[in-house]
Symmetry: C2
Subunit: 305 residues, 2 copies
Amino acid sequence: MILVFAGGVGAAKFLEGLVQVVPPEEIVAVVNTGDDFVLHGLMIAPDLDIVTCTLADLIDREQGWGIAGDTTACMEWLGKLGAPQWFKLGDRDLALHIQRTALLREGWTLSHVADHLRQALGVKVRIVPMSNDPAPTHIVTAAGEMHFERYFVERRAQDDVQDVRLHAAGPAQPTPELLDLIAQADHILLAPSNPIVSIGPILALPGVRRALQTTAVPIVAISPIVGGAAIKGPAAPLMRAMGYEVSAFGIAQIYADLIDTLVIDQLDQALMNSIKALGLQVVVTDTIMRDSAAKARLATVALQG
Amino acid sequence: MILVFAGGVGAAKFLEGLVQVVPPEEIVAVVNTGDDFVLHGLMIAPDLDIVTCTLADLIDREQGWGIAGDTTACMEWLGKLGAPQWFKLGDRDLALHIQRTALLREGWTLSHVADHLRQALGVKVRIVPMSNDPAPTHIVTAAGEMHFERYFVERRAQDDVQDVRLHAAGPAQPTPELLDLIAQADHILLAPSNPIVSIGPILALPGVRRALQTTAVPIVAISPIVGGAAIKGPAAPLMRAMGYEVSAFGIAQIYADLIDTLVIDQLDQALMNSIKALGLQVVVTDTIMRDSAAKARLATVALQG
């Protein structure tokens, strides 16, 4: 069983590579829920939906989120009725949020809901939310403390970041199966996701770091930073705010006490020795997942790492 | 001020006539909420929406409910995700349910929400839900007791009706302004709505019958039964189950202790004397609201009644 720590777009693409090289039934993605929030009374789970809809081949690949070909009739009418408009929700996309919210209100756990939704959409990879508790990521900025999605989407990451508060609603427990999954995994991979706000919230759950440090299997991370920049999303300002260099070396520092191997891009080859000096093995490859073959190739490298 | 007791389609059409002959700002519609129910975790309010969307000229006039030209992308995806499909909700229509549910969860009263939604859609008639408490109408049938919408929509009124249970969730209070509105009204009209499940739930609220019996202004009802049949909806089996003749005379019996005048259709002229024998005045006219002029004419007659 291959356990993948996952955020949104980068992780979803990486998982699309992985399912080409191993049977999807052998893959479990544990997904960040720090971005989850309530909007229009609906429980929105951005990373769970990006991973699920990408693996179901429904994702809008231009945007990286939402459902391809979706319409926005409901959203337009929500606007007429005075509802906030900063987070776009398509009509098909809304069905996921409505059904998730309805099932949670009926008493289902988020794990149960996530499993139901991925099965309903024909996804064979098992998708496990990191926690069944609310664990919002807050960004502390000069303009105040706000939920990650407000910082990133509503305010377009324009505010200077002072701090990141994980699990800002209070203590969150890992989803019940997570520590067992870590103990049972044959491979553990940290997908090329934002280390601060995607992988960070999973690692911050009680017992997760310890479980990773005690497992015998190698742990491999793929750097989401290539040539000193994030491929997508706000990793750069968040890493900088937390005191890290925005580079594959910064990624290595963040994960140094947890992983065995870091996969970095050939553009970052010059950083290999300084990363090795942190006690890590380094694999250099082309990490840009520009097509299906590139995704499969990166997955193969990560499994060998 | 003209106070209209209202259900769904019949009341909405009658109100369309009324706004042609008096300023809409002088009209208050108190609307049945006995049909309200929760579906997909969303608070659906069929009669409030029919009245609001008809007066906003948004209603799908073929169906009598829903929004004209609406699409069903979200509903189709809810189906893929295992959600029930028996109650059709359009994408634009869903915006009303989502926003209503969100505002209620934020602590707004249903009165406040109804007022916000009708204003957002440009409706000048004041729309007041009968109660801010849950007051579901249940139908007791040979197949069991069920919410009115399940009886009417899901099971297409196929079950033999044994009884009707109003306010089946327990005691409900009238919306705070309702008794004052009755005391202050210059005209009180009972729209041509189902007397058992549309007007009945409003009349069954504590204090409403007494307020109607003590007000000095004339109370006029328009019969929704013409030629022994309901123009729309399940009035016939429900009246029969409650021991009433399905006729304008049956309507007169139901309202006899409350109203002064019953407006009946010319098709039912033969019933005039037996209705008068109940102590009511009778106005005979064409009550079929086939076009805009017919609606206005009926409203004028009702105001004169």
